[in-house]
């Protein structure tokens, strides 16, 4: 059975929506980072699906997805390092507590 393109797109859209909701609604910085990861993966799924169904001879889409995953990993590392520092400073990872720029 061949899974149609639309199914991939729907799964990707659901993933994106869950990621977006997580980023907006979650208070914990760790959960926000995880939402960002979901968004990135939704985009990756979109790109691979379009490549598979429209131009399977072109490898550029695969390379693009690998780049996105790499950037996602790096972003995750930096984000988690920032969280660690912030947690050491104020014993909290609540994103709403970081309000020093607003006075």
């Amino acid at each position: 059975m061949i899974v149609p393109l639309t199914a991939y797109l729907v799964v990707a859209a659901v993933l994106f929506a869950i990621g977006l909701y997580t980023v907006i609604a979650q208070r914990s910085a760790v959960m926000v980072l995880m939402g960002v990861e979901l968004i990135l993966n939704a985009i990756g799924l979109n790109i691979v699906a379009f490549w598979r169904f429209t131009a399977p001879g072109d490898y550029s889409a695969q390379i693009f997805v690998i780049l996105v995953i790499t950037i996602g990993a790096v972003e995750m590392a930096i984000g988690l390092a920032l969280m660690m520092l912030l947690f050491r400073q104020r014993q909290s990872v609540e994103v709403d507590g970081y309000m020093e720029l607003k006075r």
């Binding site: 980023v23 907006i24 609604a25 994103v95 709403d96 970081y98 607003k102």
Partner: protein, 648 residues
Amino acid sequence: MTGSGLVAVPLLPLLAAALALAIGRRLPRAGGVLLVVSLAGSLAVLLSLRAGGRLSADWLAVGRFRLLVGLEATGLTWFAAAVVAATALAVSLYAIGYMRDEPTGQPRFFAGMGLFAGAMLALVLASSFIMLFAGWELVGLASYLLIGFRSREDRAVAAATRAFLMTRLGDMGLLLGWLLALLATGTTDIGAVLDAARSGQWVPGFATLLGFLMFAGAVGKSAQLPLSAWLPDAMVGPTPVSALLHSATMVAAGVFLLLRLFPLFQAAPGALALVFWTGAVTAVFAALVATAEMDLKRVLAWSTSAQLAEMMIAVGLGVPYAAALHFATHATFKATLFTAAGSMERQTGTRDLGRLGGLARAMPLTAAVFAAGALSLAGVPPFAGFWSEEAILSAAVARGPGRGLLMVGLALLTGVYIGRAGIAAFGGRSRGAARTGPPQAATMRAGMIALAVAAVLAGWLLQGSSLAGLLGMREPPRAGAGWRGLAIAAGLAGLSFGGGRAWICGGVPALGRFPQFLATGLDRATRAAVEPAKRASTDLDAIERVQDRSARALAEAVICVSAGLDAIEHALDRGARAVSGSARVLAHGAEWVEARGFGQGGDRLAAALGDGGQRLRALQTGKLYLYTLGLFVWAAGALGAGLVLLLR
């Protein structure tokens, strides 16, 4: 450099003069010793150098003119310098004793004597006209200072001024002469000018003109007519001054100049004739006046004038050898006569021939010295004057019997006046003047005796071919025995006539009183000549006044113009002030605009921006989810807009 020692010759007396003034306050008597030592040094240097040294340097080179300064010991200049130094040495030795009792001014006196001798040595040794002229003028200055030594006496001041101004008249000729020579040859080197004269490259009249101009200088310095009135007046100076001035330094400079420039005169027969005739007239005139003077020193002064005139005659006859020999012998016997006269005056307090008399017994040494000088002057063999006067006689006879007779006549007159003066002072009866002064100092005696010995021996020692060889001049052919005998006889006859008359009648004029009128005539003529000059100077004064007035008018006009310029300037100034005032106003306005406009505007802008910032800050919630939401809303909006644009 063989000539480098030459510098010391004139420099030593000048240094002694400076030193005498410098230490004069502490050691007033040291000046005389210094002078004697320095002159002895000069003489020693001179004798050790012999002739032939030369020292010359460029002083100034302007265009084609080269002005040199330097010293040169040719035969003639070496000989003249030796005569000057030796005579000055003896006279300054005498002066130490003579000035012993002078209360004040000894340093000044000996400084003057040093300047006198040093300047004369520079003059005779000079190798360039500049140096010669400088020495010439310094000699004049020193004589002025020394004649006017007793500056509190009006007569001394008047005589000094007269001597200075009358010689200055002649000096103008010399100055013009050498400037003209400089113009013609481009150099002041005497040798070069003489070479140019010898080569005959000048137009014929030029050498004659130069000769006339140079001779004018010699006339003034050597007291020839018409510029001879200053010499007898100069007797008011202390006797050592007279002795030096009359023998070797001042008056001899004129004759020396003619000897030095003789090649120039050889190229100018007209000038030589003028020299001869001036000499002849002056000799007769001065000798006649000397027979009638009542003042012993004035007799000797006129005698100097006459003897210098004889040297002029010798030069005029073209026999410089005779003039040079007479220059030397005259220096010795005239200095001798003056020192004796001074010694006598010092002890009796007078030199009036009417009051002197019979002093030979009271002062035998002075009388003997005077006699040696007098016999030498009268040309009695073998005294010094005999040899030189015989040389002049020979020169004259060679040119004709008339000139020979002139010389014989002069010998007769010379005998008359010096015989009269000598016997009136030392022989016959005493006429009131007696020895009252202090005994003579040893230095005075030494100086007198040295000069007297020279006056006896100098002629015999110097004359002959060795001197002629040294000078590079020809000896004249000797006159016949008849002429020589005649001249000696004339001298002796004059001596016995003058002496005998003085013995019997005392110091009355030997040939009547008419020569005195000659003297007063010359005096009056001199004064008369001065009158037009005075008038001319007043005329010049008037001209000057006119010039002054026109200069004043010019100056006033200039002031007027400048006042006008001032007004214009004021106007310009005011304009400039107005411009600058408006500029200031503008600047103030600009400043105001800047302060109020830009400044406040800027402030307001900043305030508005700050306000806006404050308001915009309200947008920032600091809530992370809001930012994310905003981002997605914006992205969704952009995508929606793109979709709308795409579908349309």
